[in-house]
């Protein structure tokens, strides 16, 4: 009980600090949020124009609108920047004082993610509700069971994207070019996770790669759940199973990278 209270207190303090720092960078946060809205908005604009003559691959204009609004929310609730922080902490020695504290640095990153997602996700949700008031196309049917399943899928996707980001950041223990790996992954995810188009519109070979690897579980599966694009218990169960398997593998990769990495850490700088 005391231990649990200690963790709650630690996380509350970390999240509070993250929010306090955010308040110092209001403009930067606003710009990141704008970027989070702009990317799906542009993709929606393109598909809206393409679908002017009728549905594309089963997606009518209203379907695209719902898909990209759902994507906007899911992306903000699952996005993780930790690789960039880790890369800097390791290369510039900012990991040193974090290693000297009785708290694994991953907890600071998790708390930062909770703080960021609560803020950005909240803003996007409010934005979506406001747009839905005047634009029926982006409204979703009220289905508590589906929303609950979506919440679970978003949680799994967020956890997976976090461990992917944290683990690729840990590559900085071995190479000064860890950021190149992150860039490559971000580029692949742009297409394979469903950020520029629903996966069903990708060429079959690419869509199958996205389905076999972890990319679909990162964003597309929760979006499909929320918009109702994935049907049937078996399809939904399969999506969750894939998410859990890949989350487990990325968690194992994190554990391995962390335990090996700290052993050969050079602890640069004073």
């Amino acid at each position: 009980m005391t231990r649990a209270r200690g963790w709650v207190g630690t996380y509350a303090a970390l999240i509070r600090n993250a929010w306090l720092v955010d308040l110092q960078y209001r403009a930067a946060i606003g710009l990141w949020l704008l970027w989070g809205i702009t990317e799906p908005a542009i993709a929606l604009g393109i598909w809206w124009a393409i679908a002017s003559g009728g549905p594309v691959g089963g997606y009518a204009r209203a379907d695209f609108a719902r898909y990209f609004f759902a994507l906007m929310l899911v992306n903000q609730l699952t996005i993780a920047w930790d690789s960039w922080y880790l890369d800097r902490w390791i290369r510039e020695g900012d990991l040193n004082f974090r290693l000297a504290r009785p708290l694994n640095p991953i907890h600071e990153s998790i708390a930062d993610n909770i703080a960021y997602k609560a803020r950005s996700g909240g803003v996007i949700l409010v934005l979506w509700l406001l747009v839905a008031l005047v634009w029926p196309a982006v409204r979703l049917s009220f289905d508590p069971a589906r929303w609950a399943l979506t919440a679970l899928a978003v949680l799994l996707a967020g956890a997976m994207r976090f461990f992917i980001s944290f683990t690729t950041g840990l590559l900085a223990f071995w190479t000064t070019r860890a950021s190149a790996v992150m860039e490559l992954h971000a580029g692949l995810a742009l297409f394979l996770a469903g950020r520029v188009a629903p996966l069903s519109l990708l060429p079959p070979a690419l869509a199958s790669v996205a389905g076999v690897l972890w990319f679909r579980g990162m964003i597309s599966f929760p979006v499909e759940l929320l918009t109702g694009a994935v049907h049937g218990a078996s399809q939904i169960q399969r999506g969750f199973a894939e998410q859990m398997v890949w989350l487990g593998l990325w968690f194992a990769a994190y554990r391995l990278a962390w335990s090996r990495g700290v052993r050969q850490y050079g602890a640069v700088g004073g």
Partner: protein, 341 residues
């Protein structure tokens, strides 16, 4: 030269024990130019850099020990191994009964690490926010936190700066806040890496007085590295001298001076008409700017020579000094290097 003076086997159980501690880094070797870059890519070559080699020492509870050495000597690497940041390549370390890299939270709660050129304070927030965060991380009870913070604020004179964003603080104020943040959990051992780096004389002095006071009050053990000899002379009776990864000297600072400095300096304020040549008859004139002069003589002859100078020349003032500690340390490094080659 590997010397141990006076302090080799503490009577009480040591809180820091290093035995044959070694750290070797594997460094990629790259020739300059484009060809070198391509060759390093195709066929990378590595060489071993022995940052620390077979270093052994023991530190008793409550001691303040200074770790000295030129840049790249291995002192910070040793400090990082003692705090568990680095895994050693060989040897054994025990700090407050723990092996640092496997000690986990219980070990980390007993130590504090302050790095002079890296900070844990959140740059954009007042220092008190970092203090609050550390209170949660170290699970410090409310009453203890308030009492310790009040003590640290009083000792370090922080009352005026607690609510200012860290980025607006001077370097000295920031270091004081760093120390406060590092000491809230009341660690048994403080590892300080260049704690006065870049500070002005007043701030350096304030940090030194604080550290001495803190040790006296709480019995903390302090191991510090510094390039400022005033830090060493003001705080540490005992020094560890390391160069090229090897421990050259472990002992009392005074004993080191007696061992290394074979001369004494007689500082004089002379009367009118004394020339450098006249003074030169008694020893080596190190400086002569009338009426002040410095005469260097063999250590064992200092008293007799002083008496002869007083009898032969008009002298307004005279004092016998050891050479500056910087010079002694420099000589120790040089002798250590010669012994190695």
């Amino acid at each position: 030269m590997r010397c141990v003076d006076a302090i080799d086997s503490p009577l009480v159980a040591p809180v820091i024990l290093a035995e044959k501690l070694s750290k070797t880094f594997r460094v990629k070797v790259r020739e300059p130019g484009l060809a070198g870059a391509v060759s390093a890519l195709v066929r990378p070559r590595y060489r071993d850099v022995h940052a620390v080699r077979d270093v052994s020492f023991a530190i008793a509870p409550g001691e303040i020990v200074a770790f000295l050495g030129p840049n790249g000597a291995g002192k910070t690497t040793t400090l990082k191994m003692l705090t568990g940041l680095l895994y050693p390549s060989g040897g054994r370390v025990e700090v407050t009964g723990f092996t640092p890299w496997t000690g986990g939270s219980p070990f980390k709660r007993r130590i504090a690490l302050v790095l002079g050129n890296r900070q844990q304070l959140a740059w954009d927030l007042p220092a008190e926010e970092t203090f609050q965060l550390n209170r949660a991380i170290y699970d410090i009870p409310d009453a203890a936190y308030r009492e310790r913070l009040a003590e640290l604020v009083a000792l370090l004179g922080l009352a005026e700066v607690l609510d200012k964003p860290v980025r607006q603080l001077s370097l000295g104020e920031r270091m004081k806040c760093e120390l406060a943040a590092a000491l809230l959990h009341r660690p048994a051992i403080l590892f300080l890496d260049e704690p006065t780096l870049g500070l002005d004389v007043t701030a350096q002095d304030a940090i030194r007085r604080f550290l001495a006071e803190y040790r006296d009050r709480h019995g903390a053990t302090i191991l510090l590295t510094s390039h400022y000899m005033q830090d060493v002379t003001a705080l540490a009776l005992r020094v560890l001298i390391i160069n090229r990864g090897r421990l050259l000297y472990d002992g009392l600072l005074g004993a080191l001076v007696a061992r290394i400095a074979r001369v004494k300096r007689i500082e004089l304020v002379l009367g009118v008409g004394v020339t450098a040549e006249a003074l030169g008859r008694f020893g080596t004139v190190r400086s002569f700017r009338s009426p002040n002069a410095v005469l260097e003589v063999p250590r064992e002859e200092a008293a007799a020579t002083s008496a002869r100078v007083l009898a032969a020349l008009p002298v307004a003032d005279l004092s016998i000094q050891d050479p500056p500690i910087e010079e002694v340390i420099r000589q120790a490094f040089a002798e250590g290097s010669e012994a190695e080659t």
